[in-house]
Subunit: 239 residues, 2 copies
DNA sequence: AAACGTTTGTGCATGTTTTCACAAAGCCTG
DNA sequence: CAGGCTTTGTGAAAACATGCACAAACGTTT
């Protein structure tokens, strides 16, 4: 009934939560749950029920008042909205420690992001097979990307090589990049960049640890309700 | 002059950016830059200059008008604020693919988070050495944690084991947890939790890819300025 | 077919984060 | 030491995100 295409824009904070709902809904579907309330889903996802409802309302009015949401239908709608109705093969740049771990991590391909290729600049790594995929040379990245029509690249190189990796990915035609290095990369306008920095996550935790320590020392009182509910956020960049 | 301890609370969004500034400042210091403006730092960190100034203002008034910030002093102040004046050893639960990659990742220890222990529930993994640390059995986690006074734990198990891992960590006395599994974990009030979910990051990118594809198809116009500047965010939880 | 209990969808208030814009404060030059 | 140039620090506005609270909508029971 409502317009099927021309969706209104979904807030970024909601986009970041939809994958979590999707996972929980998938699990529930697996164990035979056909219907779920915002309250139940909120519990599973670790958020507030009103937030669940508002988030889902951006997809359309797919719930039934007094009843809840049809799990299977909701899974379908979220997948559609997130663009997960087909696989998105990814190319990994860097076949070192991290690149190999990522390639070997099944939860990757399982969730619709099969490793479509791995490249490295180091000849000694080229030819070896990690996670069932043969490592090719960085110079061949364009062929790898085009052969499988890849649009997402993952940077798993040392930090110093990150910008080169990004440039190679963009030149090869990739339009989204997930950067695991601590280096901030510059990309042309229109390329999406996501970033995962392990050290940053730990440093945020350290801040809370330290704060806890100070608070305990300074005053006993405040520990009753005020303890941190830390949330983290990271920047994507697009030039 | 200003109170040295008893800091005002720093917004969570700022806490998440301080580590990025810290890294950039460290690099600049290495190459001999003694002074930096908010504009320059903003450029390096990929954010807006006003944001840099406001973020830094939470630390105190450490800049000089007309000049900028003293790099070395700022590094010191940020480190102090984040609680990085001493090391925070971490214990890794799970010596599989990911746990090994994390243990072997030097950027970890280099940044003040040495791997103080690795535990696994699987006897066949116990005793092996990864990243210079011998894997011990999950049952010994309490000794590992207490021997090195560890307060940060990293969960690198399969998703199904995440809650058990969290429970073990908490029981052992850990107060901050970084969870690499897709499972949402429940912890007692007062425990900080950070989460890194690779699949979620990729799904966010997929959303933007798909959106780009739709936009291109629907109308040619909007590509001129409006392309996404995606930001991601993840939840921390605390019960 | 009315009354009831449940649960959605959303308007509104509140809280947080970003951005703007400019006075205040510093250096430098003449 | 005055005038000009630069850059910080921060109020205030705007944008964004969260959470409350309740009317509207549904199924069920009588």
């Amino acid at each position: 009934m409502a317009a099927q295409r021309s969706r209104r824009r979904i807030p970024e904070a909601t986009v970041a939560r939809l994958p979590v709902y999707l996972r929980m809904l998938g699990e529930q579907f697996e164990i035979g749950v056909a219907n779920i309330s915002s309250e139940e889903l909120a519990e599973l996802a670790g958020v507030n029920a009103a937030k669940v409802r508002k988030d889902l309302s951006y997809l359309g009015s797919y719930g039934t008042r007094g009843v809840g949401y049809d799990v299977e239908f909701l899974v379908y709608q979220i997948r559609r909205e997130l663009g997960l109705t087909h696989d998105w093969p990814v190319v990994i740049v860097g076949a070192g420690n991290l690149g190999q771990a990522l390639a070997g991590y099944n939860g990757f391909g399982d969730r619709g992001f099969p490793v479509g290729g791995i490249v490295d600049i180091d000849d000694s790594k080229v030819g070896s097979v990690v996670g069932g995929v043969r490592v090719r040379h960085l110079d061949e990245i364009k062929q790898v990307v085009q052969a499988r029509n890849i649009s997402i690249g993952v940077i798993a190189t040392p930090g110093a090589a990150a910008q080169d990796a990004a440039d190679s990915l963009v030149a090869a035609g990739v339009t989204s990049i997930l950067n695991f290095t601590p280096t901030v990369i510059n990309v042309p306008h229109g390329i999406s960049v996501g970033k995962v920095d392990l050290a940053v996550e730990l440093q945020i935790l350290a801040y809370h640890e330290q704060r806890r320590a100070n608070a305990a020392q300074g005053s006993v009182v405040r520990s009753l309700s005020g303890l941190s509910i830390p949330g983290e956020s990271r920047r994507g960049a697009s030039a």
